[in-house]
Amino acid sequence: MFDFVKDYDLLGAFWTTVQLAVLSAVGSLIWGTALAAMRVGPVPLMRGFGTAYVNTVRNIPLTVIILFTSLGLNQTLGISLGANDVETINFRLAVLGLILYTSSFVCEALRSGINTVPVGQAEAARAIGLSFGQVLRHVVLPQAFRSSVVPMANVLIALIKNTTVAAAIGVAEAALLMKEMIENEAQLLLISAVIAFGFVVLTLPTGLILGWLGKKVAVKR
């Protein structure tokens, strides 16, 4: 029944999905943390930027952002992110689009974590002479990360599934392969089931492991 699967590089496609997800997750975590730092920081200009960024980017459909990286950044502005062949360029553009989009959600998940840290602790940290950056790095963010593990897991699961949008600019990940298989085989339900199963294999353990981790690292108050 699943014989046709052998004709396609299913593992290769999912490997691309994993690469998209992992690279975007790392990038979003870094950029999202920077955005959150801006939004809670003392500089009005940066606070304004962080707020404007989040409220703009999270409200734009991901497809539009990904298409913009390809049509706008690459084809109009000629940005190729240091790659020469189309395949690599598109992959990198997709990662960039996913980072730009997902970081706005990471920022808000982290900010909800920051809100769980009592204000008094930041005051105490300032009172012993720590700078704003040190207060954030040594006192606020370590606790904020721990209490935002579960909302972060939601963001990561959404990101893994969002990687399918990269198919819109021709990145050879699982969703693009699915489209190709559906065009070639008369097995719509089976193909969908195989791809869906592949995503569940990626996302279910992610949710379970991070849920467990969230409990384990929770800060006792």
């Binding site: 602790q121 105490a124 002479g129 720590l130 040190q134 006792k220």
Partner: protein, 258 residues
């Protein structure tokens, strides 16, 4: 009062550590600090008392600029309090602060709470910081709890750790913002004992408290605040036995007779 002011001026010429001059602050329409003038000399223990909402906590918090002021000047050891940035952080390191709600860093052990400032602000060597932290924790009587997390300690123990954390910075002055108000009655004394010992050792202290016993026994001066103003300043003996203002008489009559 005459005695006090004479003694104060004698010292003041040489050793004014904290000087507030016509400090004003508003919270919206509420004028929470009104023309506050207060000078604290080195080694002095000043207890600030007064009814809730009188501005005494705010006064305490303005001294290391956890609250900004609208007008007036605050100087610590001759240096005006900077508005922002590195300068302010440096000055804050010289001003120890103990909060009503302890505010220990919940994700760090007791020992790490006391070493963090030494290592990150004073750039102390890790080993030295740890030695000093352990010595301070022993001094406040919680040496055995060094490797526990704050949530595993009683309120009294947590507050003593908070005192050790502040002392680890070698502050010039210590601010106590109602340090015993959140404690169970049986734990109040262990914290007050540590504070009395500090006072005996010559630490300059500003203590906002409702503990009249502490004010009587450890203070050099009592500052009575009401409605955002300093209404009365006197030695504890004078203040408690013979308050001059009606507002202070009223306050004392309410807290001392039951």
């Amino acid at each position: 009062m005459t005695e006090v002011s004479v003694a104060k001026e004698d010292k003041a010429a040489t050793d004014e550590l904290v000087v507030l001059k016509s400090v004003n602050k508003h919270f919206g329409a509420l004028h929470v600090l009104q023309d506050i003038d207060l000078t604290i000399t080195r080694g002095e223990v000043v207890v600030v008392i007064g009814p809730s909402g009188s501005g005494k906590s705010t006064l305490c918090r303005t001294i290391n600029r956890l609250e900004t002021v609208d007008s007036g000047s605050i100087a610590i050891d001759g240096k005006p309090l900077p508005a922002e940035g590195k300068e302010l952080a440096r000055l804050r390191a010289d001003v120890g602060m103990v909060f009503q709600s302890f505010n220990l860093f919940a994700h760090k052990t007791v020992l790490e709470n006391v070493t963090l400032g030494q290592v990150k602000v004073r750039k102390a060597d890790g080993k030295k910081a740890e030695e000093k932290a352990r010595a301070l924790l022993d001094r406040v009587g919680v040496g055995a709890q060094a490797d526990k997390y704050p949530a595993q300690l009683s309120g009294g123990q947590q507050q003593r750790v908070a005192i050790a954390r502040a002392l680890a910075m070698d502050p010039k002055v210590m601010l106590f913002d109602e340090p015993t108000s959140a404690l169970d009655p049986e734990m109040i004394n262990e914290v007050l004992e540590v504070m009395k010992q500090l006072a005996r050792d010559g630490m300059t202290m500003v203590v906002v408290t409702h503990e009249m016993g502490f004010a009587r026994s450890a203070a050099n001066r009592v500052v009575f605040m009401a409605d955002g103003r300093i209404v009365e300043e006197a030695t504890p003996d004078q203040f408690f036995s013979n308050p001059r203002s009606d507002r202070a008489k009223d306050f004392l009559s309410k807290i001392l007779h039951h």
